[in-house]
Symmetry: C2
Subunit: 475 residues, 2 copies
């Protein structure tokens, strides 16, 4: 038989790139395995995975929210309510009993769109957040935001000339998914010199280029709070973006998974696009994504989230439902976690004080680490870094000398990848080079998470490495 070769496979998949779990992450994993050997010969004793917003991973160990986990345990093994009732607060037992009555066993497939009762609770959450109604039938529970994004993008790419406007830098899920479904990315640049703000002018330029190239723009992706930038949009900018979508008949894909990761709430608040679209009574088709993986829960491993569709016709909703049904249903443990996300304990509930303490601690730690890290990185020669008001990341810009760029070129690497590989080799810290997110030509960055608990030791390593780099390659 002829052997199966990569060249014979779907060419669109070959084009897909996903740096968050790419070369750096694979090498970090090799190091992690090598560290188990007594005589590993590495200049560090642990690997710190700062490449991905995964707060509960070993080494970062952000504790899960007790309320969420107790409800989950009771749903797994409902007999616990009888066998060990004293372990659980009364409102936890009541929540689990209520979910059990609505869902039955979490071992059963649910409605493909997600448990109707949980979608009702999501709708109430949205309504309370925004002050505008939400319809449970317009909400789809998902296996994390990623699967929802993939479904929507695959639907909107009708042919290779279909274009999707994406911010640069962007979370590479977008470029990966657009490549997978053989569409055309239409990049628009965010402004690193102005807190990574979004400019209408840049989007209009991207639309002009699309028109010149015969690309049909279908959707505008906005990530708010930004990933990797942490930037927050002003309501004024949001209104302009909605108007622009109206003008160009674009679907607005609003990635709002970091809506609860706000480090400067008074100066940089979050407003949902659902609220803006509702307030403007705009006809723009909007899909807003949320997730249990981020915020203070950080329940990445369960795979849960939702998206809400606004201004979609019933036949398009039916198409989305059909496609969701081929995958049967989102994971039930993700779904019930969405319930605890949108219905946390309330003041007066037995579990409220613990929930409040746990969530406050995580919010405060993240905000303070972000600030400290940004400050110390900015003090380093050749590094400038926006002090992110939101999300889980910093995205420092690094200036790289000609000598460094030449050395990178000799090694067959992008300069920022070369920097990140050296950082990993010397410190065990794994970050993602900016080339994975996109950046202006000649600019270099990396993304790192602000999740590592021992911030002093962590930033100390980054500083020491950078100083030795500057000594070696100049600035």
């Amino acid at each position: 038989m002829r052997s199966l070769t990569v060249d014979s496979l779907n060419p669109s998949l070959l084009k897909v790139e996903y740096a968050v779990r790419g070369e750096l992450a694979i090498k970090a994993e090799e190091y992690r395995n090598r560290l188990k050997e007594a005589d590993h010969g590495l200049p560090f004793d642990r690997v710190i995975s700062s490449n991905i917003g995964n707060p509960q991973q070993v080494g970062l160990d952000q504790p899960p929210i007790t309320f969420t986990r107790q409800v989950a345990a009771l749903m797994e093994y409902p007999e616990l309510a009888k066998l060990a009732p004293d372990v659980f607060a009364k409102d936890v037992l009541a929540r689990a009993a209520e979910l059990k009555a609505e869902i039955g066993s979490i071992g059963a497939y649910s409605h493909s769109q997600g448990v109707p009762f949980i979608r009702q609770n999501v709708a109430k959450f949205i309504q309370e957040r925004d002050g505008f109604p939400a319809d449970p039938n317009h909400i789809f529970l998902t296996a994390g935001a990623s699967s929802g994004v993939a479904l929507l993008i695959s639907m909107l790419i009708s042919d290779p000339k279909a274009g999707i406007l994406i911010p640069i830098p962007q979370y590479p899920l977008y470029t990966a998914t657009i490549a997978q479904y053989d569409g055309t990315p239409l990049p628009y640049f965010l402004d690193g010199s102005a807190e990574w703000s979004t400019s209408l002018h840049e989007i209009k330029s991207a639309l002009e280029i699309a028109e010149r190239d015969g690309i049909n723009p279908r959707a505008l992706v906005v990530i708010n709070p930004g990933n990797p930038t942490g930037a927050l949009l002003s309501e004024e900018t949001q209104e302009e973006l909605v108007r622009l979508c109206e003008e160009h008949s674009l679907v607005l894909l609003a990635d709002e998974v970091y809506q609860d990761n706000l480090h400067k709430r008074s100066t940089h608040p979050f407003t949902s696009f659902k609220k803006i679209v509702s307030r403007l009574q705009s006809p723009v088709p909007l899909v807003s994504f949320h997730s249990i993986s981020k915020g203070v829960m950080g329940e990445c491993g369960r795979r849960g989230g939702y998206f809400e569709c606004t201004n979609f016709s019933p036949d398009i909703m039916a198409l989305i439902y059909k496609m969701a049904s081929v995958g049967l249903c989102p994971p039930l443990q993700g779904q019930i976690c969405v319930d605890t996300l949108v219905r946390p304990p309330k003041e007066g509930d037995e579990s409220y004080p613990l929930w409040k303490k746990e969530t406050d601690t995580i919010h405060e730690a993240l905000a303070s680490r972000t600030k400290v890290m940004a400050g110390r990185l900015n003090d380093l020669p050749g590094i400038s870094c926006v002090d992110s008001p939101g999300a889980l990341y910093l995205y420092p810009q690094i200036s790289l000398s000609d000598k460094a760029i030449e050395a990178a070129s000799k090694a067959g690497k992008q300069p920022d990848t070369f920097y990140a590989l050296a950082l990993l080799d010397e410190t065990g810290i794994c970050v993602v080079p900016g080339s994975g997110f996109g950046q202006r030509e000649g600019h270099w960055h990396y993304r790192l998470t602000c999740l590592c608990p021992g911030v002093d030791e962590y930033v100390g390593k980054l500083e020491k490495f950078h100083k030795s780099w500057v000594e070696k390659y100049g600035q």
Copy 2:
């Protein structure tokens, strides 16, 4: 702005059909909601969802395996080991502690391919099952078998002329996925008059048609035990199929999710394709799919499973890994359930007697219900039904009179859909018409699950309906 219309969306998605959750299931759900009203006016008091193999759903209520759920509860809330140790058997506590030590929190993303330790256990399970080695690096944990099948099919469809050989009748995931990724299905017919056996002759005919039409066959899908047919392949046939894949350079996609649902083990045993390929030392690229949703666990809602790749080159494995990584990782609760699937309690373990009793009960109930249902359906006029030796379904053939076909045509329905809709309207039993799985022209079927606990009442309703149908439309 121009409004967003279905016509402007990805045309491949419009072609997708998935009858298992289609028209019948949607109507059944409407009935279920209507039954909540006091004055519902329906001639039944509950809906029985026999359209989908979902054993734990409300109304069927197959109990989960205690071992699995206890381990899951401890992983959700590890403090239980201290707070309520007496609730759990010693081996359950030990298993949870072992998984916790390997994984850390189940709220963290795992390796994109699945937790390495669990993949090692899957490899041992395969090795013990088949007597041939298995490599953990060739195993991908998945969110159910469906997501793995979608990934592989999307990879193999390099262009619209890429063909995938699928059995008819088939589980509609295959036609749906091939349509979604714009490939060409190459149907080969199973023989309903010979226990739904697979014939090389039929596959060769399909290959000839492909050649005539300029379609490039890439893969052969085999479902063993069959869905919807319940048929089991003989080792002789399996060897022939492997040889045929060699001859035509086909990837063999072996859907083996029902490998533990065997009702006649002595006469109809299961042999994995991995074993056949290994024994023949064949170079055929094989992907074998397994799932936690079927077997005796029926843990559909967690979304877990795995696939094993045999005879794939490292660069193709890297491509599969890259695509898996864009989705980050399979749900952790699905992954740990795979661990309890491949490592059930052993004789001597404290939890073994209960596990044995629970699994024996489910095996026996399924085998006996299948036999009773097949026998009674075969006694009805115009129904003939293979007494399935495996899986969870029966796939009776129904003869429909010209009068019935004419009435269906007037209603704008396929004749078997018309029959299934009438069954649902009169009894509340939801089945899937054969047109959803494919059938020879002029043949009519439906698929129903053998999961309903009160088999007498259930089959009684089917009988009563069918008799009144025959009275109305003749035979």
